[in-house]
Structure formats: structure tokens, C-alpha cells
Amino acid sequence: MSQETLLNVSMIDVFHGSLQALWNVSLTIKAGEIVALIGTNSSGKSTLLDTISNLIHPAKGSIEFEGKSITTLEPYETVALGISQVPEGRGIFPDITVLDNLIIGSYNRKARAKREHSLKMVYGLFPRLKERKDQLGNTLSGGEQQMLAIGRGLMSAPKLMLLDEMSLGLAPLVVNYLYEALRGISGRGITIFFVEQNVRRSLAEAERAYILEGGRVVLSGPVAELREEEKVRKAYFGI
């Protein structure tokens, strides 16, 4: 079963103003994969996701999605092509309802047509959202807000979903539930690229992983190999 390359990030340098955040970063994600991005706090993980979403543009290098260059696109064009980001901190809109939050996720034209279908999928994965669909965003618990954020990301009918620190501030049981949902999403053919603080969790849920340190990719590969890696064991597991 040969997998197509979905996303190809090629040697990008990314700056925040005059400060460089990413050096020569390259990565590849194949369709249907679940890939993790691991790294400490200021390693540039969010910057990388933002660059893929085109909130920032790389100063050097290129990004290709489904074989076509997306390096200079606007964020809304990137969403239309099928890349959806569930941002760190969830970013749900607090004073509109759950349903409205979800609907706004389907803003781009292609997704609008599939709205009802997407809604059914989201409710299927997260029945809690259906229960609370007329409640305001800020009345939800942390876990429910994360569900909403993920659901909203799904509403844009994505091919690739980027998740930034999904488990931040949530209880382990909730996190389990979310990752189970994520597996369900992957099962529907959506490719997943996620950032996760908890290294053990990352390596448990992903097939492959990239390790980012100080804005550079220092290690990458199938999860099984990484677990054996001397460096990883020392740095993250203290063994």
C-alpha cells in the first residue's frame, strides 16, 4: 500500500520579525498517517504549524501540499485546500453557541456544501457536543472546549489536520477520550499532524515523529526506532 506524500515541507527558515525561529526545517507527511511533533516549549513547534497554515510565511524554502506549492498562499486559501489547524488554547468563540462555533468552521465554500455531513460526523465522534449544541462556548468545560475545537476543525472538511497541544490542561481520562476520537478521525482517512507536550503520549499515538529542538529538526523517524534512540531515552525519559 503506497502512500502519497500529502505535505512536503522543504528546508524552511522562518522568522518572527528579525528573530529566526526555524532553521532549515524539512518534513514529509504521507496521506493517512498520524505524525507527532515533539519538542520543548520554545522549540518552534507552534511556529511550524502556523507556517504550514500560512499564518506566517517562510523566508526561505517551500511547502507543498498534494504536489502543489502553497508557500505563498493566504491562510484562508490554505484552509480551502484542506489543511485545518486546531490551535493551541482551543480558540473557540466564547459568546456564540456550540453549533455556531461548528458552523463557522465550515466557512469555506467547499466545506459549506458538506456541512450537514460534517456535523453528523462531529456529533458522532463527540455526542457531548450535540447535547450542548445551543450552549454558549464559554459555558463548556476545558475538555468539551477541546472537543469543540477539534469538531470545528473537522467542519472545514480537511485532508490534513494540525493539532497544537491538544491535551494542555486536561485530565488524563479526557485526553484518552480525545486521542480515541483522533484515531477515529484518522480512520476516516484524515491525515493528522499533532504537537504534544507529553512525549510518552506522542510516541504511543503516532506512527512517526519529528523532534524539534531550538528551531531545528534533530531527530525523526518511525516511533519504534525513536523509542530505542539513546538521545530520546536520555532526554525525555531520563534513562
Binding site: 484562508y76 480558540g91 468563540f93 466564547p94 459568546d95 456564540i96
Partner: protein, 292 residues
């Protein structure tokens, strides 16, 4: 009993007048709520619509409200252009730039209108504008009632638009959290342009009703700006219903102030109220507290 009956007039007038004020402020509220931009040329743009309706009436004999069929699209287009080509770039230049550019627009508009129409006061005076209607033993100018009805219609239309349509929801999202809105696939640049355009269409409506109610001169713009701003801060940024109520409050403040204190000092009382509210509670009675 005479006291209550006496009060009835300023109260009813205040509420009806409040409709006009709310109408004028609606556009400003929308723009401020969405883009955190105070369009200091707002008053002058409202007047532009008044003068346009005046021209339609004087030169073509078209009824002012009917002329909105031309005036609204015109102002919609102007608003779209201003946001997309002027303000959008201004935001990237500096914090003061949008304000200063709006000042430039105001300067141009005021003087173009002064040159075209002279500083003489004008009014929109189709036959019905001079009529009055009765409510019980009292008579009120019909124009005021029309203002109030127009305000109701516009307020609720806008509110439903913002709540139910995709564009409306996108405008709301972009005003709350631009970054997340971008991640939702919203073209925030275009959304802002539409928001400004809609605000200007609203301004077009308010310009016509303003002209039906009061005489206007090319330099009236600043007073209407301050008035609109007062309504917005009292009623709360970005809340359409809040703006409506804010209009009522300001209208009442003016007429009751005129009744109890002094008829000639009405505007002054209004200005002082605006300053006080600014100092005490800038986010208004209905607005959300600004996230610092």
C-alpha cells in the same frame, strides 16, 4: 397631573429621536466592534448621503427614501473601497494612521460639500416630512416616528444578518479573534471590507432620515460623530441592540435635559454626558470588556 403630562412630550420625543441617533450610530458601532476603528469621517459620510438625497430631490425630483435605492449601493461601494484600499493599508502603517486617514477623508468631504452646496443649511423636505401625527392629546413630528421605525428595522435586520448568515458570523468571528478566524478559512481582509461597506450602507439610511428630521450643513459632521460615538459607548461596542438602546438613552438625555435644565444647552448636556460616560465606563452598558 400636569407634570406627568408635560413630561410626556420630552419623553416620547426623546425615544423617537433616540431612534435617529441609534440609526446614525449603527454604522459606527459595527465598524468599531469589528475593527476597533473609530471612523472619524463617519459623520461626514452620513452627511454625504444626506446631500446625495438632497441632490436627487432637487435635481431629479426623487423622494429621499426612494433615492436610497441608489444611495445605499453607492455608499456600500464607497465603504468597501475605503476599507480595502485605505484603511487596510493604514492598519499596517501605524496605530494612528487609520485615524489620520479618516481625518483626511473628513477634510475632503467637508470641503467638497461646502463648495458644492454652500454653508447654507439644507433639509430634505418632501411633503410628509413636515407632517405630524397625534398620540392621544399630543402631536409629534412624523419624521421622528419614521426615524424610530427605520431604526427598529435596521437594528433587527443587522442583528439577524450578523447572527444567521455566514458573512455575518464571519464578521463576528473576525472581530473576536482574528487569528482563529483566519484558521477557519475566513478571508478577514474581505470580511472587514464588507463590514465597513455594510456600515456605510447603514450610514446612507441614517443620512436620509437625518435630513428628513433636521436641517444640515457641511460642518455638522463632527457633532454627529460625537453623538454617534456617545451612543456607541453608552450602548456598547458591537452590540446592535445595545446601540439601539444607547440611542434611546441619549435621545432621552437630550430632551429631558432640555426640559429640566435648558433648551439651548441640550447639545452641551449631551457632550458632557459623553465625556462622563467615557471616563467612567468606556465599554458601555452592554458591551463586552475589552480583552487587554
Amino acid at each position: 397631573m400636569t407634570d406627568l403630562a408635560d413630561l410626556a412630550t420630552p419623553i416620547v420625543m426623546g425615544v423617537l429621536l433616540g431612534g435617529l441617533y441609534a440609526l446614525i450610530a449603527m454604522g459606527l458601532s459595527l465598524v468599531f466592534g469589528v475593527m476597533k476603528l473609530i471612523n472619524v469621517a463617519h459623520g461626514d459620510l452620513v452627511l454625504f448621503s444626506s446631500y446625495f438625497a438632497y441632490a436627487a430631490m432637487a435635481l431629479l425630483g426623487i423622494d429621499p427614501i426612494l433615492s436610497l435605492l441608489m444611495g445605499m449601493p453607492l455608499l456600500f461601494a464607497i465603504g468597501f473601497v475605503i476599507q480595502k484600499y485605505l484603511m487596510k493599508r493604514a492598519f499596517g502603517i501605524s496605530m494612528e494612521a487609520p485615524l489620520l486617514i479618516a481625518f483626511g477623508i473628513s477634510l475632503i468631504l467637508q470641503n467638497v460639500q461646502q463648495l458644492t452646496w454652500s454653508p447654507m443649511a439644507r433639509g430634505l423636505t418632501p411633503a410628509y416630512a413636515l407632517e405630524s401625527f397625534s398620540m392621544g392629546p399630543f402631536r409629534f413630528p412624523l419624521a421622528y416616528l419614521l426615524d424610530f421605525i427605520a431604526a427598529l428595522v435596521v437594528t433587527f435586520s443587522l442583528r439577524e444578518f450578523l447572527r444567521r448568515t455566514y458573512l455575518g458570523k464571519a464578521i463576528h468571528a473576525a472581530s473576536q479573534d482574528k487569528r482563529t478566524a483566519l484558521l477557519m478559512g475566513i478571508n478577514t481582509g474581505r470580511v472587514y471590507a464588507f463590514a465597513f461597506a455594510i456600515a456605510m450602507a447603514t450610514a446612507a439610511i441614517s443620512g436620509v432620515f437625518l435630513g428628513l428630521t433636521f436641517p444640515f450643513t457641511p460642518t455638522s459632521g463632527v457633532s454627529f460623530l460625537i453623538l454617534a460615538f456617545g451612543v456607541v459607548i453608552i450602548g456598547g461596542l458591537g452590540s446592535m441592540v445595545g446601540t439601539f438602546i444607547g440611542g434611546m438613552i441619549l435621545g432621552l438625555a437630550q430632551t429631558l435635559g432640555g426640559y429640566f435644565v435648558s433648551a439651548t444647552a441640550q447639545m452641551l448636556i449631551l457632550y458632557i454626558i459623553v465625556l462622563v460616560v467615557l471616563a467612567v465606563r468606556p465599554q458601555g452598558l452592554f458591551g463586552r470588556k475589552e480583552r487587554t
